[in-house]
């Protein structure tokens, strides 16, 4: 899998009302990568994700998967949203099965993969529970299982833990790291939380607002074997402080 985002611009509105929300965004992603886009609200990071998912079209520039330009949404790019992520009338297992049924897989395959992926996210016991009976963290795990079960080449995570309490966030971050380590998935994470990005991603793009653009790219080479320790380790804290300073210093382009 090779995702290439080249010189992508996006503006909303037309004529004199047009507002540029993305300016010349470029980056790429290879199989097995876990990368993150970090920025405040208005930095256009969610727009980037929607363009990659094919839910919107870029105004200029090209997004391509394995050389083919992205023209619309497809099951090769799975997505997990921050909220309203599960179908409230379906059980956890039916939610996981949903995408595979849309793809027209056989009943037996759907059944087997559903229980496999519920097991992967540690929710085999909750297969028959309704979303409202699950905690926020469990709901997001079901949403991740549903996305993975549809066999995407790339998993797009749009603030997946943004609505969760801080303690649950931390355990979900560890869960997601384990999942990435075990399944070798390819993921792009959108977050406003610098710590989350540094914990999970091997490369972090910092985005600035008005217009949204990538202003800094950092390779993150940290020992992730013990996450709880990593959060308070010296190299991690220094890197975070360094990046936090550059995030704080960001001004809209042309204002200074």
């Amino acid at each position: 899998m090779h995702l290439q985002v080249s010189n992508v611009c996006k503006s909303f509105g037309r004529g004199s009302n047009a507002k540029l929300v993305l300016d010349q965004v470029s980056f790429s992603l290879e199989s097995g990568d876990f990368k993150a886009l970090v920025g405040s609200s208005g930095s256009g990071k969610s727009t980037v994700m929607r363009l990659i998912a094919g839910l919107d079209q870029p105004s200029s520039g090209v997004i391509s998967m394995d050389g083919q330009p992205v023209r619309g949404p497809g099951s090769d790019r799975g997505m997990v949203f921050q909220k309203y992520s599960l179908y409230p009338w379906l059980t956890a297992a039916e939610n996981v099965a949903f995408g595979m049924q849309l793809q027209g897989r056989s009943k037996q395959e759907v059944r087997e993969r559903t229980s496999y992926f519920l097991d992967v996210v540690g929710l085999a016991d909750s297969a028959r529970r309704m979303p409202r009976e699950l905690s926020g963290g469990m709901q997001q795990r079901v949403a991740i299982a549903r996305a993975l079960a549809a066999e995407p080449k790339l998993l797009l995570l749009d603030e997946p833990f943004g609505a969760l309490d801080i303690q649950i966030r931390e355990s979900m971050q560890e869960f997601l790291h384990e999942l990435w380590r075990q399944t070798g998935l390819t993921a792009l994470l959108i977050t406003h939380d610098l710590e989350e990005a540094l914990l999970l991603a091997s490369e972090v793009h910092i985005m600035a607002p008005s217009p949204g653009r990538i202003v800094r790219t950092v390779k993150v080479d940290l020992d992730r074997r013990d996450m709880a320790h990593l959060r308070v380790s010296q190299p991690f804290l220094e890197l975070r402080e360094d990046l936090a300073r550059s995030l704080r210093g960001l001004e809209p382009a042309g204002v200074r």
């Binding site: 497809g74 409230p88 849309l102 996305a147």
Partner: protein
């Protein structure tokens, strides 16, 4: 246990409200203060009911009126569901039809009766069509509104899972709006009942509305009361059935 816990029993208070009205009604009629031509006693209404039931009239009127309501409303519900979903999910269809529907919706359905009689005579068809005309626009517009409020994420999730067009409408939009659709049907069913009685007052050979207008001709207020009470009870039964259906099929939404 709290001595006032019966206050929290919704059924009990509701029944008490009905009982108070019944008691007042029998007290007033038993004093003879009001001419029984204007206000018949509960016993008189009950015996009028027994007479009609024995003569087979009650059952015949009941089936005639209920049949019209269900026929017209089923037609209306069946047209409104796909049309409302189409209007709610497609901007072109919505812009095309919404002003037209908004206009027709404000034409009082009973005003169509003369036209329907000219077109279709005095049979069942004009009555069924009246109920259809009187409810289909409300049903459609309420369903359209429900579709517009389906969270975008639910649809986009399906798109990123490989979903397309029709399966998204049938497997995401329709189940999500099901509770609101049932509620719209429940509310608009009340207008269907209004309309069937109006249609029968104007032109019919049997039906609960027809029985009421015949009773007026012979000053049988007891039969008028009977008709009103029967119509009310049927309406209540339908309303409760819709609520029960909703609780059974859409438990996730409660």
């Amino acid at each position: 246990m709290d001595r006032r816990s019966w206050i929290n029993e919704p059924w009990l208070l509701g029944a008490a409200g009905v009982a108070v009205v019944l008691i007042l009604w029998s007290l007033i009629t038993s004093t003879g203060a009001v001419d029984k031509l204007f206000l018949p006693s509960p016993a008189a209404v009950l015996s009028a009911g027994q007479q009609q039931a024995q003569a087979g009239l009650l059952w015949r009127d009941f089936t005639a009126s209920v049949g019209r309501v269900f026929g017209g409303f089923a037609l209306s519900a069946a047209v409104a569901l796909p049309l409302g979903i189409a209007m709610g999910s497609n901007v072109v269809i919505c812009r095309l039809l919404e002003p037209l529907m908004g206009l027709i919706r404000y034409m009082p359905a009973p005003a169509f009766i003369p036209l329907l009689i000219i077109y279709f005579g005095l049979g069942e068809l004009p009555k069924v069509l009246l109920i259809f005309i009187g409810t289909v626009f409300f049903n459609t517009l309420m369903i359209m509104d429900a579709v517009k409020f389906v969270p975008r994420e639910l649809i986009e999730t399906a798109l990123t899972l490989g979903g397309r067009g029709l399966p998204i409408l049938t497997r995401v939009v329709t189940p999500y709006i099901a509770p609101q659709v049932l509620d719209a049907y429940r509310i608009n069913m009340a207008s269907a009942w209004n309309l069937v009685i109006v249609a029968e007052l104007v032109a019919a050979t049997e039906g609960l509305g027809k029985r009421i207008s015949l009773a007026q001709r012979f000053l049988r207020t007891d039969e008028i009361f009977l008709g009103l009470i029967v119509v009310g009870l049927i309406g209540l039964a339908i309303d409760l059935s819709f609520r029960l259906l909703m609780r059974r099929t859409c438990s996730w939404a409660n």
